[in-house]
């Protein structure tokens, strides 16, 4: 069978620095190819080179064969006319990729009308069929903001494929989705394959690669380090990086949940909370002891973060009571955030921010410096502003900052969900080390069931409200 897409010896560089080197891929109908890699590995550049959407300042070489049309990788315009017809790209965060002012049906119909050249009525009819096939008949007249994330994902697939392209390109299709939605996306992509198309998927999530099957390619620093059938690569990796990547999956973590609950730091009785007049949870009883790890899981919008904020006293409960241990300052109950950048003053360098916090709590700089060193934060980073530091590093700085208040309880609100798997593992390990050492109790909010199982002695599962 002829491959849908072949890339030969792709090289992408910026200002003489090679970002992608010697990458060759071949996507055959019916067999998905998944490229796995962390941020900056160059995997997205491969997809962009295939489409011809590389940024103008990037220099590309190599050959791209789409169907039976071959062209130079650097010739961006060469594949422009194949968009929608020969190659379709599924956007990241599809709820942003749909026109917010236009109903779903006409957006799907655009492909039929403008790419296939059907009449308005015919295009609309075909779009209706597409939506029905994806179980979206009821959503045809909705606007994008009225769709759930999963529905938007399906609409985007329908819209992307309406032009009739046999090859579907999906770049991080699970970005920003809950774990339970991930399997739905995988099913969706597999559905596209079944219809006789072919699929190139770019992801940082090993679980997606595993679920899709087919072939897997692992990229690191612009190069392919491993390539082969999914079952081989993901079960018997040959390259060290692949092994680290697999080990970084929470499923593979060592099961060293900290069981020991010390004296009670915090308790809640028949707690209830609301958001926008909607009851999120009620009749919740909870107690957290010193050094204990408690995981809170549940689908998006179920009130996980709200629960933590109520326990910290940042929000008022709708009913019930929260009791913190008497005699402890409020500052000994701290919080870690999902997006650490937003928790620092954006125009202030980190050194000043930390120094002020240290001064507030009477902690000498040397002690803070020692902690930063233990958390493997290079001192030079402190002269930067928060947005100039990577997510993993900043989260570790945030941990150091929280520790300045000598906390007994830490509410960690999805602290690693935006990090690459390996960074996630490292950050979590650092937090666990600190916790064990100081007897710090942690309430961890996560949507990753596996992680919750591995790290927490206790789990609270909230249901969708």
């Amino acid at each position: 069978m002829t491959p849908s897409l072949t890339i030969e010896d792709l090289r992408v560089s910026a200002g003489g620095v090679a970002l992608v080197r010697g990458v060759s891929i071949r996507v055959a109908p019916g067999v998905p190819l998944t490229i796995v890699g962390e941020t900056g590995s160059g995997k997205t550049l491969v997809a962009e080179a295939a489409m011809g959407t590389l940024a103008p300042e990037l220099v590309a070489s190599g050959r791209v064969v789409l169907g039976d049309a071959a062209s130079e990788a650097g010739d961006r315009a060469a594949r422009r006319h194949l968009w929608g017809r020969g190659i379709a790209m599924l956007p990241q965060e599809p709820w942003l990729a749909l026109d917010p002012t236009m109903r779903v049906l006409p957006q799907v119909a655009q492909g039929h009308r403008f790419v296939r050249g059907l009449s308005m009525a015919e295009a609309t009819a075909r779009a209706r069929e597409d939506l029905a096939a994806l179980g979206l008949s009821g959503a045809a007249t909705r606007f994008p903001h009225q769709l759930s994330g999963g529905m938007a994902q399906r609409v985007a697939v329908a819209a992307a494929r309406a032009g009739g392209a046999p090859l579907l390109l999906a770049d991080e299709p699970t970005k920003g989705l809950d774990s339970d939605l991930r399997s739905a996306v995988v099913a969706l992509l597999r559905g596209a394959l079944l219809a006789g198309g072919s699929l190139l998927c770019i992801t940082h999530d090993v679980a997606v690669a595993r679920a899709l099957g087919g072939e897997v390619m692992v990229m690191l620093d612009g190069e392919v380090v491993e390539h082969g059938p999914a079952e081989t690569v993901l079960t018997a990796p040959s390259h060290a990086y692949t092994r680290r990547l697999l080990a970084a999956e929470p499923e593979a973590w060592a099961n060293d949940a900290i069981p020991g609950a010390g004296e009670e730091l915090l308790s809640a009785t028949s707690l209830a909370a609301e958001r926008g007049g909607r009851r999120l949870f009620e009749a919740l009883d909870l107690a957290v002891g010193a050094g204990e790890w408690v995981a809170v899981t549940g689908p998006s919008g179920c009130g996980k973060t709200t629960l933590g904020n109520v326990l910290l006293g940042l929000l008022r409960p709708a009913a019930g009571q929260v009791r913190r241990r008497a005699g402890l300052a409020r500052t000994r109950y701290q919080k870690l955030y999902q997006d650490p950048v937003a928790t620092f003053a954006p125009r202030l360098d980190l050194r000043t921010a930390l120094a002020e916090a240290a001064a507030l709590h009477g902690v000498p700089w040397s002690q803070l410096a020692a902690m930063l060193a233990r958390l493997r934060v290079p001192d030079a980073l402190l002269d930067r502003r928060p947005d100039q530091v990577s997510g993993g590093e900043l989260q570790r700085i945030a941990i150091a900052r929280a520790l300045l208040a000598d906390p007994v309880f830490l509410f960690a609100d999805e602290p690693t969900s935006r990090l690459d798997p390996i960074t996630q593992q490292e950050t979590m390990a650092a937090l666990r080390e600190v916790s064990r050492e100081r007897g710090l109790a942690v309430l961890l909010v996560t949507h990753d069931q596996a992680m919750a199982r591995k790290v927490a002695g206790r789990q609270i599962a909230l249901r969708a409200a």
Binding site: L312, Y337, D339, D349, L360
Partner: protein, 270 residues
């Protein structure tokens, strides 16, 4: 050092640079002009009415034989100080009340916002007109009316921006760490709002200068023989044909100042 870096980080577009130059020139004219150009702005010479430019009156003379240049620089001083005074008079209560409303929330916020909505229910100039009608030609009602109409803008912008900032994770984290209101204000709120305030000040300044001119045009601005650009234009309007320069000069100054301020301000914060 940090300040320098911050300015560099904000960057200056060519438009900002040009705006800054224009405003700088007019401000310089306001400060130095009256010192460099000698003469009284009200000194008349009825035998030299509408004379063309000459050595002792570089921009010619107006309909009462007064030197246009002398009046121009004194008018610059008036417009610049009136604009600045209005901005301060509108900004100080506007910012304080905006912070108060955002910080306190609840009834304080509701009452203050209601007050703001009431003022905004009417177009600003209408309000100024009604206040100025009390004593047309005088300085204080004009100043009061402009400040009254303009503080709401500051209040609303401050309230909205500081409200969002106060609800940000950064502030939440700072408060959890035990930092007090002053730290939150100094580190998290004011630095973030400074560019916004700059923009508002520039727009407010331009608005005040324009409003003074417009009021002069409909006959309730500052009282002659005050040298004020809007008034000068209106006074010289009947002579547009005989002394175009005398009418054009204040128009150009007004235009340069307003254009400069708008370029400096960048995008409308509303």
């Amino acid at each position: 050092m940090r300040g320098l870096r911050r300015i560099a980080a904000r960057g200056h577009s060519p438009a900002r640079l040009m705006g800054g130059t224009l405003v700088g020139l007019v401000v310089l004219m306001a400060i130095l002009g009256p010192l460099l150009v000698e003469g009284s702005p009200t000194r008349q010479d009825l035998s030299a009415v509408l004379d063309p430019p000459s050595a002792d009156a570089l921009l010619g003379r107006d309909h009462l034989g007064r030197s246009v240049l002398v009046r121009l620089v004194h008018a610059a001083r008036l417009s610049v100080s009136l604009g600045a005074a209005t901005v301060v008079a509108a900004a100080v209560p506007g910012i304080l009340l905006g912070l108060l409303a955002a910080w306190a929330g609840g009834w304080t916020d509701r009452v203050l916002s209601g007050l703001g909505d009431a003022v905004l229910a009417l177009p600003g100039l209408l309000l100024v007109l009604l206040v100025v009608a009390l004593a047309p030609g005088a300085f204080w009602p004009l100043f009061l009316g402009l400040s009254l109409a303009m503080w709401v803008e500051w209040f609303r912008v401050t309230r909205a921006a500081s409200g969002a900032l106060l609800a940000s994770p950064a502030v939440e984290a700072a408060r959890l760490l035990g930092f007090g209101p002053w730290h939150v204000l100094r580190r998290h709120v004011l630095p973030e709002m400074a560019p916004l305030f700059g923009t508002l000040a520039a727009f407010g300044f331009a608005g005040a200068v324009l409003a003074v001119g417009a009021l002069g045009f409909i006959g309730i601005g500052l009282r002659p023989p005050t040298a004020e650009w809007g008034l000068m234009m209106v006074e010289l309007l009947p002579h547009y044909d005989e002394a175009p320069l005398a009418m054009l000069a204040p128009a150009l100054c007004l235009f340069a100042l307003v254009l400069g301020l708008q370029l400096l301000a960048g995008r409308d914060p509303r």
